[in-house]
Symmetry: C2
Subunit: 337 residues, 2 copies
């Protein structure tokens, strides 16, 4: 059997409907969209006809004439990290609610590819996920130059753009102070410490937290690393080789922290007794690890809804004042501290 035997019929267009109904294309178009100046009987007849012929408006043609696609682009990466998955899902939901479809870009996450994408695909707006920006913030100017509204989500403020910022610096600082209050004086850090404006922010908060708690930064407990589970595990294994160990470690994200927990368990070390662990994101898994993870909770729904709201606003008012939303994530305390 060939799959398309039954589908030789082309899709119906306004012209087809107009021909059958014996009216002009414009009349059909206006009738279906409930525009005025159409007689009641004609309108009903046309609508019924549209249903019969299974007519659906051709959004591409519509986009061309209306100069809008009702589509927004999303650059996201590390979708295998549940936090980004959840965030993407939430953004899709919010976008759909606002009448937008989501065009996803993951692998092609370079500034050049993104701008080309924007220029060609004619998305109405663009949400720039936390990953792309890192190293080369200046390159973002190219994105802005496309004239397409862009909203950025990350940890730092980009003065040229609408932004939804999570104040990770303060959140991490608070987490460190919390640990200090619980008696921890020797703390380690796993994450980015350099070469990335955005990702190093947590390290800044870590340093400030120590300072404000009157504690010293110990370089041998500061581990430069990517943010995957395997990194957390491997880095922890290396860290645990040292003679003197910190009593608590802060991890750049939950995956890292879960990797650390695994390393501890594997060595028969007790968490939090032998070493406390704090993560960042509060992915669902963190509530079900052994032990459950103390972590800084990202307000995912809020981030998603603010992103879409800002973008919608900017699309309908491109010349308006730049807007910036700052969210302060809060510490969720569980058994790992």
């Amino acid at each position: 059997m060939s799959l398309n035997d039954n589908f030789n019929d082309k899709v119906a267009t306004l012209r087809d409907l107009a021909g059958i109904a014996g009216v002009s294309v414009t009349t059909v178009s206006r009738a279906l969209r409930d525009k005025p100046d159409i007689g009641l009987d004609t309108r009903l007849k046309i609508k019924q006809l549209a249903r019969q012929l299974n007519y659906h408006p051709h959004e591409v043609a519509r986009s061309l004439v209306l100069q809008r696609t009702n589509t927004i682009g999303l650059t996201m990466s590390h979708l295998d990290n549940p936090y980004y998955g959840q965030l993407s899902q939430e953004i899709e939901a919010q976008a759909a609610k606002a009448g937008y479809s989501l065009l996803l870009t993951i692998a092609s996450s370079t500034i050049e590819k993104s701008t080309d994408f924007l220029n060609r695909k004619k998305v109405d707006g663009f949400i720039l996920g936390p990953v792309l920006a890192g190293q080369d913030v200046s390159g973002l100017w190219a994105l802005r130059k496309t004239g397409v509204p862009v909203v950025f989500h990350g940890n730092i403020d980009l003065p040229e753009m609408d932004t939804v910022i999570v104040d990770a610096e303060t959140a991490v600082c608070n987490a460190v102070r919390y640990l200090a209050e619980r008696g921890h004086r020797d703390m380690g850090f796993l994450g980015r410490t350099r070469n990335n404006l955005i990702l190093t922010l947590k390290f800044g908060g870590f340093q400030r937290g120590l300072l404000e708690s009157g504690l010293q930064l110990k370089n041998e407990w500061v581990v430069e690393t990517r943010g995957e589970l395997e990194d957390g595990y491997a880095r922890a294994c290396a860290l645990l080789q040292q003679d003197k160990l910190p009593t608590a470690v802060f991890c750049h994200n939950d995956l890292l922290a879960l990797g650390v927990l695994h390393a501890l368990a594997e060595r028969g070390m007790r968490c939090p007794d032998d070493m406390a662990v704090v993560g960042f994101d509060n992915i669902e898994m963190s509530a079900y690890s052994n032990p459950p993870l103390t972590t800084i909770e990202q307000p995912v729904e809020r981030i998603a809804s603010e992103l879409v709201r800002l973008l919608s606003d900017r699309i309908s008012n491109p010349a308006g004042e730049r807007e910036q939303v700052v969210l302060l994530p809060s510490l969720t305390v569980r058994k790992s501290t």
Copy 2:
């Protein structure tokens, strides 16, 4: 400062280029696309001009005339489940490699919304994730009727569509037999057992595995549940109340299994000694749980590449023979059994 001060210039069109270059629109179009019948000097001049004016082809206009959008739709849900996140990411990568952008639908995952989406957005093809199909396979006919190529991914064969099938039934059966060989005679099942053609398949494999191992199905150890972490935890808690416990449980997916592991650890029960646990998917986390999870590994990259390949083939040859790819996932043995 208003954001759009510097961007009063409209984007350049072929017409603009033609006007400046003093040639026809057609010539510009052909020059840029390296079509023949254009003089070398004109071609170079036009290309340089395009670069100067930062010209980018208007894909919407192009789509309209070419009757293809170079975009494929993806219906996926539960993106907060890392397995689906990873799968989506992989599909995006494969699609990009094949020259397609991905239009994502999550929340709107009903057949009606999907068909409307297909009809309107004019995607070149559609990948139907494992979630949508479940209950109402007959409704998929509506998708087919749109005439848009659809490739389905799931555990059962849909005779009317190209499919990439993971033979979960056999895989689960094999896992059960593996458990039986390791001496387990009392096994439990957490997952879907009814009302869903696709999701109940694993239960079928479970039953067959028991049968082929000469074991009995114990209804009190069969737990009907959704597939979230919290379900795994809650269902395990309930199960562990029983007087007689299974020595091993199979879980519909890894999240469930990780929830079960958490319940066990919380009660001070040892895994696998007190209870062995097997999952399905092999998400990254499963290698780093405590204990690491024995699980059935989904061949994610293979699934993604086959999906995109099948869809590309179908797009370029809509009338060809239906294709079906069956993948047998294999058991990854870790410490939880």
